[in-house]
Symmetry: none
Subunit: 187 residues, 4 copies
DNA sequence: GATGAATGAGCCTTCATTCAT
DNA sequence: GATGAATGAAGGCTCATTCAT
């Protein structure tokens, strides 16, 4: 799975052949099909593993009694924070959904929506508590947050000019400024 | 080209065959190769057409003498504003770069960087003029802006609950709040 | 199609690969798939061509005003008479039905039943006219007739000790003796 | 073997994989190869078991001192009589000979010929004793008998409108009428 | 401008078989 | 007796591309 993720990141799912994968591992195609039912099943496994972990960690953030501001910051850190380890798998997750067969895609899309709706509910919480601006559209703002974080998987190079922690900090800042009322900015 | 873009959006470049394209048009493969040298050349044409128009329109925004705030808002509108017409081509542009052959990819990556750097320069302008917060990292902020806008191509459905104009307005708001100092917020 | 029939006769449908077929023709696989949608489609074509011709010729036999005895004899000659030309295709037809996909198999089974029922109707005609024995079970007798004729495709070698005409004569004789009343045998 | 026969009947030898067989049994492929040297060996076992029993039973029919008419009737009953139990194996036997490797096929073909020649000899016996018509060609008539009986394996459904006993009776009748002189028909 | 036919490479998948455990 | 893992060959099919007409 590790190897296949690396290849999918590099060339895309469709353009990566089973032969590419098994060559990278030094095994044979027959062996691949002993462990996976199909190329599609492999892609599904990748998707499921990523989103399931993400949802689990999001839930543990939501269960706490922290203010919405802190919860949102934690979610941003969750998404960006371990890009080093999760970067490749996330990359596949964000790009290759359409190559799942419809039946599987439906499952993943549902979990994807769930994740986004949890962000919406944190935003709503913050709006009601007065932490966030009243005029925000929670749904669109959730998409904006996801845009900022997820887009970084397209360009961020771990080990480049910025550490992931620093990026997470910058973006938390940017997002919180974007949604908090003018007078209540953190010092 | 229109048809091929629609198919690339739907199934991805690799998973779309020339046969798919010509079937959708009711012509034959031979005919395709009369007009395009290769599948790759078609993809390059799509990329070039999109980025060239974007750069041209960005330039005309930059040439004005407006404040940085207005310029940035104009760029956001440029990216989101005509999603109805440009949505599909943008979708291909954002997803299929990796399938260009290296030589072509280099060209596009250069223009892509140019576009981003122009946003950086607007941000810098705003920081210097005091319109934007001093502590911003212009490069990372440029990526954040692009994240917010470009990500919308992944989920936005024209004709859904929100018009593109409204989305552009919401996101301009979100972004400007994110980068302007607390005390100078627009009313 | 000729070549593929020969190969199917020799090795069976499943054991004959597309490669086998195109090798025998000196073309390439791509070429095969330009002309046939699938291996299954080729098999269907073979079935359809055989049964359609058979049904057409059977119909022209039935339309005449001849006595049932003559009609039945004509059908036996129809089945055995041109084994030289039709032998191979008939062989495939009798053996490979199960490899058609269900949808196609249904079509062929229907035509097959039609052919048999026409034989039944000739038998019934003969029974009513007193040409054939009253106690015959028309359906089972139709199957018996088909057994005698069709089985010969499994062992008959054209150019062997007997000409097809002679075989047709022998079998017409055998069958008519089998179904006519004792007293009315032909001299 | 039971399971494999059922699968061969359903899909054909070539189209049935070892995996299919072991799946149906709930064991693993390794286990199959502990019991059978190869797929071909399994097919040979099936053939051998069927023809050996048939030959043995035929021999016991032939050893009696009954008239040819009775012997022939007994052989017809032998072939059709226990179609319920023997149907599936006979089906494989009649269809899959060509998938034996040449060396094995030769053995089976020899036994097959032997069985047929025994029928020929009964026919000859009957012709000489005056039970059967003088002008019969014993070889072709033997094939006709086998056609009537063996073809029934292609369409007969135990538990359908007719019992196997009744079918055997009908076909004995048909065949004997077909070969006996007009004046000596049974009452 | 367009077509029909062909090609060779490559694709995903399945196969019969082997073998260490 | 049985299993799990592997293998190399082959299978059906699709692909981007070419080219004579």
């Amino acid at each position: 799975m590790q190897q296949s993720i690396a290849l999918f990141v590099d060339k895309g799912y469709s353009a990566t052949s089973i032969q590419d994968i098994v060559d990278a591992l030094g095994v044979t195609k027959g062996s691949f099909y002993y462990h996976y039912k199909s190329k599609d099943a492999l892609l599904m496994d990748i998707h499921q593993q990523y989103i399931d972990e993400l949802l689990a960690r999001q839930e543990s953030i939501l269960q706490g009694a922290a203010p919405a501001t802190d919860k949102l910051a934690a979610i941003v850190r969750l998404l960006i924070g371990d890009m080093e380890k999760q970067g490749p798998i996330a990359n596949v997750y964000f790009r290759e959904l359409r190559h799942l067969k419809e039946e599987n895609a439906k499952t993943i899309r549902a979990k994807r929506a769930e994740f986004r709706e949890q962000i919406e509910s944190v935003l709503l919480e913050g709006i009601e508590s007065g932490e966030f601006r009243k005029e925000l559209n929670p749904k669109m703002t959730a998409f904006a947050v996801l845009g900022v974080t997820n887009w970084s998987y397209q360009w961020f190079q771990p080990g480049g000019e910025l550490a992931t922690d620093e990026l997470a900090q910058l973006y938390t800042d940017f997002i919180l400024h974007g949604i908090m009322p003018a007078q209540s900015k953190k010092p």
